[in-house]
């Protein structure tokens, strides 16, 4: 294992110190491992918090700032944060208009956020609404599993619901916007290589040089199938067609198309993939209204990518275009 670390045990804390040093506009609560918008709580604005296991950076801490999240909780690598962290984050961002919890659909994350909401309700009476993100079409038999996983749509939810909150809309409406994004977004991912969790020191799974895993999860969970490595245009087809067969994308205002890097794939390959994806969409009569290309929800040093398509309408596009100022996503400011 070759990594830029001092000690796996201090990885999260060391990285949080780096975030604090690089982004003085953010506050970092090192004890609770919470990254908070510097001017939080913003009076009268719904607070947005998220969080999850570390290793998916820039998600979530890189999306803290005006127009997106108010706070993010960092768990151990690939392990949900604990309720104390979410309670601290909720308290830090409560501006009197309630707090939205954005939760990726993993058993641990859902239960820890649930407990946090119960603790907040018992202690302070802050109104909390949780929205669970589950956009991964790779999980087919959702009745007999923990359900679809939360992946790429999480980034879009944080941006779009963040813009709705910034407009001063009430908690119920901000939650509704978040649910709408989740309802109309689908994702599918692919791994060319495994990731290596620093504490484990070896690859999470074995993947031969000539094979790739289609339908991979962001923690290296197994996908739908393992196939020989293929040209990018065929890979794009493997990712886009299960999405299009899961949701009817025709008849709207086009899609927000998001090609995400898993951590170790260079941007030049992601742009090449984006080209393949747009060509497939054009063939299916689906216009691309907006785009996002880059490593935004990663899986440590995994090579590969995921595609997320969000069926857009006027409201979603307007909120997508709204100004945002965070370490990882910044425009219109």
């Amino acid at each position: 294992m070759k990594k830029l670390i001092n000690d796996p045990a201090t990885l999260i804390q060391d990285a949080l110190h780096g975030i604090a040093a690089a982004h003085p506009q953010l506050r970092v609560d090192f004890e609770n491992r919470v990254i908070v918008r510097g001017d939080a709580p913003v009076r009268g604005k719904v607070g947005l918090i998220s969080g999850g296991g570390s290793g998916h950076e820039p998600l979530h801490g890189g999306f803290v700032g005006p127009g997106m999240l108010d706070a993010a909780c960092a768990g151990e690598v690939f392990t949900s944060p604990v309720p104390d962290q979410m309670v601290a984050a909720t308290q830090a961002v409560d501006g009197g208009a309630g707090v939205l919890h954005i939760v990726k659909n993993y058993t641990g994350d859902v239960m820890n956020f649930e407990l946090a909401a119960e603790m907040v309700a018992a202690d302070q009476g802050t109104e909390v609404v949780a929205v669970v993100i589950d956009d991964d079409v790779a999980v087919q038999d959702s009745l007999y599993t923990a359900g679809r996983r939360g992946v790429g749509a999480t980034v879009l939810v944080e941006k779009i619901a963040g813009a709705a909150a910034e407009e001063g809309r009430p908690l119920a409406e901000v939650a509704e916007v978040a649910r709408k994004v989740n309802t109309y977004a689908r994702s599918m991912g692919l791994a060319l290589t495994s990731c290596t969790v620093p504490a484990a020191g070896r690859p999470t799974f074995e993947l031969p040089d000539d094979q790739m895993e289609v339908g991979i999860g962001i923690h290296g969970e197994p996908g739908r199938r393992r196939v020989p490595v293929a040209p990018a245009n065929e890979i794009a087809e493997m990712l886009v067609s299960p999405i299009l067969s899961d949701l009817d994308y025709t008849g709207g205002d086009g899609v927000i198309a998001f090609v995400n890097g898993m951590g170790a794939t260079p941007l030049i390959e992601l742009y090449l993939m984006f080209n393949e994806v747009t060509q497939l969409l054009a063939k299916n009569g689906i216009p691309v209204a907006r785009s996002l290309v880059g490593p935004y929800i990663t899986s440590l040093d995994m090579a590969g990518c995921s595609v997320t398509l969000l069926k857009a309408d006027d409201e979603l596009l307007r909120l997508w275009d709204a100004p945002v100022n965070t370490p990882a996503l910044r425009r219109g400011v």
Binding site: F78, T79, S80, P81, V82, T107, M111, T145
Partner: protein, 206 residues
Amino acid sequence: MDTKDLTAWIREFAGLVAQHKDELTALDSAIGDGDHGVNMDRGLTAVVAALEAEPPDSPSALFKKVGMTLISKVGGASGPLYGTAFLRMAAAADSVLDGAGFAKVLRSGLDGVVARGKAQPGDKTMVDALGPAVDALDAALASGAGTKAALQAAADAAEQGREATIPLVARKGRASYLGERSAGHPDPGATSVTLLMQAAASTLGS
């Protein structure tokens, strides 16, 4: 059994988990994310330290401290599940427990796990060991067994429940993404529950 006896049970559980940490982690590596042993050991080490720093004065206070500490320190899914179990046990506990009182407390813990995790028997989770253990404890006490013998029956039932998870296909948690590939391995949560019940059989009842 009083606060002191029940504290000994928790300490024994912590000791067994520390002893089997690598085994729990290996089981979890096969079908989960490979951190059950490490996470439970971290949580129970914190529990033992908290109980030493401020010894609780009632079974209820003991269980509450255990539950809150596990929720704060374990993370993942086991933190909320074990934590909720102990918090429910705290709410159900009288100041001194006889066998039947302990059985009632344990059933409250099981109810908490089911409420939090929404697992059904056969989903390949800790419920598959804890459910049979609680049922066996009730049945043994009802048939007139002494507390010690009844707890041994409960520990045996937990072990059998754990063994029975081996052929099952997981329907909850991260293992469920494996589908058929999750069969052939015991559930790590059911395994740690077996340690909890073994600790009860060796420390409680006389």
